[in-house]
């Protein structure tokens, strides 16, 4: 598995390569193969808010958005062992009028709430202060040659090989030491640690950005519809769910690109077209308003709700258009909306059971993990502000079980078809199997994690087979040893004690 991890305390990101079964908290456990940290600057304001990787044309790219309002596009060139990232474009975003008082929001809070690809055509990002940015992928790719830095990658490969050799040597040494002194543990192969600055080669930096002001101050979620072009939804603190359309602007931009050879310019929009505004739920039993704080949104049942035209607000008003959305709130609720079924949520459920010591305090839902393709098997993975992460079935409205392990709040969840990657304040990246929620890998990264992203997956089946085979082998070897063990013990009774004590340890180390 190849994981990208944005750490909180530094402005760097780390690339972790590890295999199935990695566990750094076991002394003799499998260690990750390599951990490479890519440094950039060093100030807190440069911190990475979101990371995504994508391919466009022949380019393998990585997009990073930093808290200092820059989107960086990194080009990935890779050999079989080494990956090399080069900053090819650095796109400054214009901060909108930040209406929150300076110093009110703590510096560790990420200013960006979204960074994603919309319909393989646009990269979009959104800030908490209510600005959305759209950048065409064609504009991004323009001017980037297919090969960037051959020499550099050769150098890196050399470095990697050297370090790998040193590591193997150390491992052999430890085995040799173990042979001399059986009390010593065989240390597992340590990960190859590489630190490097991200090289910067900028190509034609002037990229047009479409900026949309949402006229909202505390946005906490901004997502796109994967089936319908130009349709987005957002919500936040005291901002209930809204569906907007920027389809006309985006397609205009595309048209211009196709027609005119002259470069299209950056565009600033005052307010997008609002299609649908959700209404708050009924007052509670004391007739008080229920507070609104949307933390995550996702469109679901997208395949069935695919529209053949761009909808208008009137269609939404007459409830002829059907889009289904799911939101989670900071007050612990999961709400489902159906645009053909009024403006209030269709269902409103509480996800996490209240803790025993504070029964009237509902745990906040912080992050929600949905796959690249949206909700899969009707299940989402959500985390609260304590240490629980659960898999939740949105059709049956019930929890499917915990993903056990995290000690601190989980800040970021990334899901694929097979695995769930989580990272948070406890400084561990964990990888779980999606189906049976078992932990496959666990890596300590030394700083708090703000964002995780899985670039490459292991071939799940191969791994499973391998682990099964290994298990079988282990079982066999254990049995054999056990059979022989009784005789051994009889023999050894006359010998001195020190050897006796060592015997069972040896077995453990072999595992």
């Amino acid at each position: 598995m190849r994981l990208l991890v944005a750490v909180d305390d530094k402005s760097s990101f780390k690339e972790i390569v590890c295999e199935h079964g990695t566990d750094t908290s076991k002394q003799t456990g499998i260690q990750p193969i390599s951990i490479t940290s890519y440094k950039y600057g060093g100030e807190k304001s440069d911190r990475i808010a979101k990371i995504i990787s994508f391919t466009h044309g022949s380019h393998k790219l990585l997009a990073i958005v930093r808290n200092n309002y820059t989107v960086q596009i990194l080009k990935l060139t890779s050999t079989s062992t080494v990956n090399n990232y080069t900053v090819v474009k650095s796109i400054p975003l214009e901060p909108g009028n930040d209406t929150t008082k300076s110093g009110e929001a703590p510096s560790y809070e990420t200013k960006f709430v979204a960074l994603n690809i919309h319909h393989d055509e646009f990269l979009y990002a959104a800030t908490q202060s209510g600005d959305a940015y759209f950048i065409s992928l064609d504009d991004i790719v323009e001017g980037i040659p297919s090969e960037v830095d051959q020499e550099e990658i050769e150098e890196h490969e050399k470095e990697y090989q050297e370090k790998a050799e040193a590591r193997d040597k150390k491992f052999e040494e430890s085995i040799a030491a173990r042979k001399k002194d059986p009390k010593k543990l065989v240390e597992p192969k340590k990960p190859i640690k590489i630190t490097r600055n991200i090289p910067e080669i900028l190509f034609d930096n002037d990229v047009p950005v479409i900026q949309v002001n949402l006229k909202r101050t505390r946005v906490h979620a901004f997502v796109d519809s994967t089936a319908n072009f130009g349709i987005f939804a957002y919500g936040g603190e005291n901002e209930d769910l809204r569906i907007i359309s920027v389809a006309t602007e985006l397609s205009d931009h595309k048209q211009k690109q196709l027609k005119g050879k002259s470069k299209s310019k950056s565009l600033k929009l005052s307010q997008p077209l609002v299609l649908y505004e959700a209404k708050n739920v009924k007052h509670d039993r004391l007739d008080l308003r229920v507070p609104v704080w949307v933390s995550n949104i996702v469109f679901f049942n997208e395949e069935t709700n695919k529209l053949d035209h761009t909808p208008t607000p009137d269609e939404f008003k007459s409830q002829t258009v059907k889009l289904e959305l799911l939101t989670t709130t900071y007050y612990g609720e999961i709400r489902k909306y159906d645009t053909s079924h009024g403006r209030k949520p269709v269902s409103n459920q509480i996800a996490f059971p209240a803790p025993h010591n504070t029964p009237n305090k509902k745990p906040k839902i912080l992050t929600m993990g949905i796959g690249k393709t949206g909700v899969q098997d009707d299940a989402i993975v959500i985390s609260d502000d304590h240490n629980s992460v659960i898999k939740y079935n949105i059709v049956k409205n019930r929890s499917l079980g915990k993903l056990v392990g995290a000690q601190g709040a989980t800040q970021s969840i990334y899901c694929t078809m097979d695995v769930v990657v989580t990272g948070g304040l406890d400084k561990y990246v964990r990888v779980f199997e999606r189906e049976d929620r078992e932990q496959i890998a666990k890596v300590f990264v030394k700083s708090r994690i703000s964002c995780v992203y899985l670039v490459e997956e292991d071939h799940e089946e191969n791994d499973k087979k391998r682990s099964l085979e290994e298990d079988d082998e282990q079982d066999h070897s254990n049995e054999e040893e056990d059979d022989g063990a009784d005789d051994l013990w009889d023999q050894l009774e006359e010998e001195d004690e020190s050897q006796l004590k060592v015997k069972p340890k040896k077995k453990k180390a072999r595992k």
Partner: protein, 306 residues
């Protein structure tokens, strides 16, 4: 009965105890001789098995051997640089103290509606720190309000003492302005006056000894304690505050020392004494949980978190 067989018991208690004592003495004598023999042979001292010694492996503990044993120079340099950065990371929460060199300014208050017990504790606490101010708690201010107001007034720490049923049961430390928040439970509080042979403390800035804060969580707690005291202690005061961590219990003691001769050091306890236990670390001012103690953690006898 240690020395007699199971079926036989001396019925006279006096005789029985005398015999048992005799056996005990013999046993300890034997052991002493064994030890003496080992010493004469030049064998190393035997290390007793303790729970601390059997501590479970924890990768967040920095192993000093690691960087020393590495053969390649280039490798170790890299690692050292990395470690330096890691230190910076851990001190990042208290950057105003460690990087900017600001001295602490502490605001202390109690839970709402508390009694003289809490106020006495606060008095004791106030004597430990240099720049500390007590303000009586008012009901209408929440922790968040207090943190905001005191950080506006230039305070670097907010300390809230919790009293329940006339005993002190918790302390919250909030590093201002951006946290983190640490909540400790407090037990076995003994004020200085009740310690036999106690001395009288002076107003000098004490030196600080932190023992056993090894893991990354432990280091962050250690940094909290460091940041509570000014950078330069008054050495002429000869006062030292020790916070000793053992099996996740933090023992707080204050002494005055004197160097009697080149080998012997005299200690006089000044008090107060209390024991802290980390219960929760939250990001920001009572924000998301970074670490939380759970009762199930006590089941693992050999796993320690600090």
């Amino acid at each position: 009965m240690g020395t007699t067989s199971k079926n036989f018991k001396i019925k006279n208690k006096d005789v029985r105890t005398q015999i048992n004592l005799k056996h005990k003495k013999e046993k300890s004598k034997l052991k002493r001789e064994e030890r003496k023999e080992r010493r004469e042979k030049g064998l190393p001292k035997q290390v007793p098995d303790t729970i601390d010694g059997k501590r479970e492996y924890d990768e967040t503990i920095k192993n000093p051997e690691d960087s020393d044993s590495s053969v390649d120079n280039s490798d170790s340099e890299d690692e050292k640089e990395n470690e330096k950065q890691d230190d910076d990371d851990q001190q990042g929460d208290f950057s105003s103290y460690f990087k900017d060199g600001k001295d602490p300014k502490i605001l202390i208050t109690t839970s709402a509606n508390c009694t003289r017990h809490a106020y006495n504790f606060v008095d004791c606490f106030g004597e430990l720190f240099e720049d500390i101010k007590f303000i009586k708690r008012k009901r209408n201010y929440s922790m968040n309000d207090m943190a905001r107001l005191s950080s506006n007034r230039g305070y670097t720490h907010l300390v809230v003492v919790n009293e329940d049923k006339k005993t002190i049961n918790g302390i919250t430390f909030i590093a201002l302005p951006e946290g983190p928040t640490y909540y400790f439970s407090v037990s076995s509080y003994i004020e200085g006056k009740k310690i036999p042979g106690h001395g009288k403390a002076t107003s000098h800035i004490p030196e600080l000894v932190l023992n056993n804060f090894k893991t990354s969580l432990g280091a962050s707690v250690g940094n909290l304690f460091k940041s509570l005291f000014p950078h330069k202690p008054d050495i002429e005061g000869r006062q030292v505050i020790t916070i000793h961590n053992q099996r996740d219990f933090m023992f707080f003691r204050r002494h005055r020392y004197v160097f009697r001769n080149e080998e012997k050091v005299g200690l006089q306890e000044l008090g107060p004494q209390f024991t802290l236990r980390l219960r929760r670390v939250q990001r920001g001012v009572k924000g998301e949980t970074e670490w939380e103690h759970k009762p199930s953690m006590d089941k693992q006898k050999k796993k320690f978190y600090l």
